[in-house]
Structure formats: C-alpha cells, structure tokens
C-alpha cells in the first residue's frame, strides 16, 4: 500500500477537523473536532512507523525500528485523556457562569 494513500486520508481527516473548529459555534463540538485532528495525526504516525519498519526489516530481520512512533501515539493518547478531563471541567464551569456554550458569548475572559 503506498504511503501517499495514508497521507491523503490523514490530511482529509485533519482538514475536516480544522473546518469544524472554524465553523461550529458549540464549544463541545469544537473540542470534539480537536480530538479528530489528534486522531488523524496518530494514524499518520503509525503509518510512517510501519513504512520505516518495512525498510529496516529488509536489512535486519530482528530490527525494531519504528517502535518509537507507536510509543509516541500511546503518549499522545495519554495526554489527550488528561486534556479532555480538564477541558470539559472548564466548559462546565463556563456554562455555570454564562448559561451557554456558544463560543461567540465566550469571547471575553473578563466577567
């Protein structure tokens, strides 16, 4: 499978996430689009890891080249979980203060 196919798929998913962040007004949907972008990047990391692993395996049959990328994906998932817990707590607090999750009403930090 050529690497370009995976790159195009991940670019499409990432761009859909970007469009969502730019167009939607609901803060929770914006947050979900950020998760979508993180997942696109994860998939691209795994694809590149398998690409380099394939070329290293041809040289050395016991090579573990490319395992770093999968560890990075694991850590990205860890950080995303921590980020979501804090971010959703902030959204709930904003809703309690302003009774809205519309980001047009949240454009000023004061009050």
């Amino acid at each position: 499978m050529p690497i370009q196919y995976y790159i195009y798929l991940c670019l499409a998913l990432f761009s859909i996430g970007v469009i969502g962040v730019l167009t939607r007004r609901n803060a929770i949907v914006v947050f979900m689009c950020i998760e979508l972008m993180l997942n696109a990047v994860n998939l691209l990391l795994v694809a590149f890891s398998k690409m380099f692993h394939g070329y290293a395996l041809a040289q050395n049959a016991t090579s573990t080249t490319g395992i770093d990328a999968q560890i990075f994906v694991f850590f990205i998932m860890v950080v995303a979980a921590a980020e979501v817990s804090v971010g959703l707590a902030i959204i709930v607090m904003m809703y309690r203060n302003t009774h809205s999750v519309d980001i047009n009403f949240l454009n000023r930090l004061k009050n």
Binding site: Y8, L13, I28, V29, F31, E35, N42, A47
Partner: protein
C-alpha cells in the same frame, strides 16, 4: 485489487463520511455518536497495519472513556438546539474555503515531495505493534516519560476537581 486494499478504501470512506457527519449534525449528541464511529474506523486502520495494541487502546480510551465523558457533559449541561441565524452562512462558507485551501496546499506539497515517492507500507508483517515489543520499549527506553505521565494525570485530576468544585 487485494482484500487489504478493499478494506483500506472501505474504512477510509467510512471514516471520512462519519467525520463529515460530525460537522453537519445539529444535535451535539449525534456528533458524539458519529465521532465514535470515526474512532472505530481508525481502530480498523490500526488493525490493518498490525498495530494491535494501539487498536485496542484506541477503542478503550477514546471510544470508551473520552466519548462517555463528552456524553456526560452534554447531558449535564442541557445544550439547547442550535438557534443559529442565517447570517452565520458567510462564516461557514469562509471556514470551508479556508479549510479546503489548507487541504489543497498540503496535498500539493505531498505530491511534490521526492522522499516519499514510491514508498510503500508494510501492512501485516512486522511485530512492532504487538504488546511484547511495545512493553519492552516502554519500560526500558521510555520509563521516565511513562512516570512523568502519571504525574500529569495526577495534576489533571486535581485540576479538574478544583475547577469543578467552585
């Protein structure tokens, strides 16, 4: 066309369609459900690449934990239906144009890059996606970041409790 290619294109179409449905759904709960389908499609891609550990972790952490958190918050704060007036149309159009330009730029860049022309992926061979090599790498080379991530989780937990308690 081999079975791997058929599965790749089917999963890709499924992922992109579900991702578009995340955007166009009016109800946030429907967006959450479509996003769960996107995560399942991405897990299918991981399985196709023989990254089995990441496939299972993706389902457990993303589709299981994070999306349930989103659903809880949406049900907790009782989001009203989007009552967006039609003057938002220009903003939507500009956002789509900006995102489409971004996509076009990156696709053109990928088409020109010489280093990735003719490169192929190893699909089902290779053991680096299995638990045994990943665990050895995680607890030999990456043990310090692993411990630091536990501190990160602790601070995130304390922060969420403090923010939510006010």
């Amino acid at each position: 066309m081999s079975i791997i290619q058929i599965l790749f294109f089917a999963l890709s179409a499924f992922a992109i369609l579900s991702a578009i449905m995340v955007l166009v759904s009016k109800n946030p709960i429907h967006s959450v459900l479509w996003l769960i389908l996107v995560f399942f499609a991405i897990s299918g891609h991981y399985i196709l690449l023989n990254a089995q550990f990441l496939a299972i972790v993706n389902i457990i952490v993303y589709a299981g934990a994070i999306m349930v958190l989103f659903l809880f918050v949406i049900m907790l704060i009782n989001v009203k239906k989007d009552s967006e007036p039609q003057k938002q149309f220009l903003v939507k159009l500009l956002g789509v144009v900006a995102g489409g330009s971004f996509l076009t730029l990156l696709v053109a860049l990928v088409k020109q890059t010489a280093q990735i022309q003719g490169r192929t992926l190893l699909m089902k061979d290779g053991v680096i996606g299995l638990i045994h090599p990943l665990g050895k790498a995680l607890f030999n080379d990456y043990v310090v970041p692993f411990e630091i991530s536990s501190v990160l989780f602790l601070s995130a937990m304390v922060g969420a409790v403090i923010i939510g308690k006010k």
